[in-house]
Amino acid sequence: MGIKILTEHINVLGIEKLEVYRKHGGYRSVEKALKTMTPEEVVEEVKTAGLRGRGGAGFPAGMKWSFLAKPEGVPRYLVCNADESEPGTFKDRYFMERTPHSLIEGMITSSYALGANTSYIYIRGELMFILRILEKAIAEAYAAGLLGKNILGSGYDLDLHVHPGGGAYICGEETALLESLEGKRGNPRNKPPFPAVKGLFASPTVVNNVETISSVPWIVNNTGAEYAKIGVGRSTGTKMISASGNINNPGVYEIELGVPVEEFIYSDEYCGGIWKGRELKAVVPGGSSVPILPKELILKTAAGEHRLMSYESLSEGGFVTGSMMGSGAFIVFDEEQCIVRNTWNYARFYHHESCGQCSPCREGTGWMEKVLHRIEHGHGHQQDIDLLVSVAKQIEGNTICPLGDAAAWPVAAAIRHFRDEFEWHIRYPKEATAQGAVYRGQLTTVEV
């Protein structure tokens, strides 16, 4: 078992209560930061830690913090992105549900570092039951003097609120989230200006994922240098992985970055192998938007080295033979799964979730879904495969926000690695659409 930073006490009975949480060392970082450190020192520790944003992009959190503009007389905001909606991702939900005070502690310490006096947790509306848990925990924290005016006698004030979304994946994009928090449609903003300069309520704002913020207390308590010792290379610390799909033990696992993928899939400590005694077919290692990799390429890189659960190793080989860490949503496919059907399902998701603001994404996501629907249901043509590749290319990089890329990548990657399966669907529609039919040909990587 590796070190647990976030989930060490997650199974302690009653850990959702302030009293129990404090008994297990909770809120120590608030005392330490507010009483013995300057905000700049906290930022420095996070920088030293090399903590990378856990929402999907993996941008260094300390660097993001240091970009925050600090004009005189203008409030600053910290917003926690708890709009966890990337298919395959359920780590934040699990974490907040079990140990809400961990997030609140992280919010207080991080808000202090950034000089924010009002902070928000934007949680997806579907998780209303977790909003209730968080609000209850926040009320406890207020009562204990950990929130509100003059926290623990330090002179620092902080108000913390939870804000529910209304059902829109796009609000996980930070500027769409801010629009939504301002009571508008979740249309991503054009950048610049970046939120660090003009974010929530036209003020400088930092938006961080639940897991990122919740890692800060450990860093403050144990120093950034200690945190940086955990993990491998530029992938420091631990990461919560949401493991789902056709495995024996789906769930959330906090791993030290650098665990071999093969171990993660087959060890009983983690996924426990493929269910029903079946074979592994493919893995989407970082949430539905990252490229799918066939068995050969997820276990080993194209160079033949063992692939590790780290930012660098998962993206080894670029998009030709690699993928991405993303949000750490590890979706496993067994040999009975149809890649075409799954790709259509993902395309339908992005079509459904496109905000419709910019034309390539609005029109392109629907187009891809319709073509994939046709192929899956036995009405495809050979030229459809190239058409999909071309439409994906027309979307990628040309949109306001990354949803366009997120919609294009899974389609392009599925065709890149499973082109023969698509061709089989088109050439033999009757066989392919039969109940329970699955392509069992040689799974090869096809150059595109």
């Binding site: 409030p75 966890e84 909606s85 298919p87 395959g88 991702t89 359920f90 934040d92 939900r93 009002t118 928000y120 997806r124 509306g125 579907e126 209303m128 039951f129 209730r132 609000e135 209850k136 009320a139 406890e140 207020y142 009562a143 609120h161 804000h163 529910p164 979304g165 209304g166 059902g167 829109a168 994946y169 939504s180 928090l181 301002e182 009571g183 508008k184 449609r185 979740g186 309520f201 949401s242 493991a243 789902s244 799909g245 056709n246 789906p250 769930g251 959330v252 539905s288 949503a329 979706i331 496993v332 496919f333 799964q337 059907r341 799954n342 399902n345 993902y346 998701f349 459904h352 979730e353």
Partner: protein, 186 residues
């Protein structure tokens, strides 16, 4: 209630919760409370938001009705037409499908004799498919109001779930929440 008369009146408890949310945002940004207020309204008025309810929300937040319509139609959690007593929001996204969501949806359709977007004749259930609900490790699953029902991977479990729902009362969660806050002196 909105669908019988044109007067839309929130309960005192709901109004208190609305005020609490409005107080979370700085002066001049009261529009921010629109999503929480729409959630309260939907729970308060039979699981959907009528144009009259939206107009009332606009009035409460001092914004124009179109600003509420624009928002309510953007977010998928708001039902814009009357719904059954229990709205089954079933996850249809990839990871759940790997664990049998397609079959669960088929089973539900057969048992309830309706398809997506429809309500049973007795007004008990509305079937709605939704995208990923962050419950991929415990799929197939669905949501009814504020609760998740997970691992519905067999016909027996779906049956048991439906039976349980038929027996259950509709809770108005926002009210419960307010009473809790009051108890804590907020």
């Amino acid at each position: 209630m909105a669908e019988t008369t044109n007067e839309v009146k929130f309960s005192d408890a709901a109004m208190a919760d609305i005020q609490r949310y409005v107080s979370h945002y700085p002066e001049g940004w009261q529009k921010s409370a629109i999503l929480p207020v729409l959630h309260i309204a939907q729970a308060e008025f039979g699981g959907w938001v009528s144009p009259e309810v939206m107009d009332k929300v606009a009035e409460l937040l001092n914004i124009t009705p179109i600003e509420v319509y624009e928002v309510a139609t953007f977010y998928t959690m708001f039902n814009l037409k009357p719904v059954g007593r229990h709205v089954l929001e079933v996850c249809r996204t990839g990871p759940c499908c790997l664990r049998g969501a397609d079959q669960m949806i088929e089973t539900l359709k057969q048992k309830l004799n309706i398809t997506e977007g429809e309500t049973t004749a007795d007004g008990m259930f509305t079937l709605k498919t939704v995208e990923c609900l962050a419950s991929c490790g415990t799929g197939p699953m669905l949501q009814v109001r504020e609760k998740y029902y997970e691992n519905l991977d067999s016909e027996e479990r779906v049956d048991a779930f439906l039976e349980m729902m038929r027996q259950s009362e509709v809770e108005t969660p926002f009210h419960k929440a307010i009473y809790q806050h009051k108890a804590q002196g907020l």
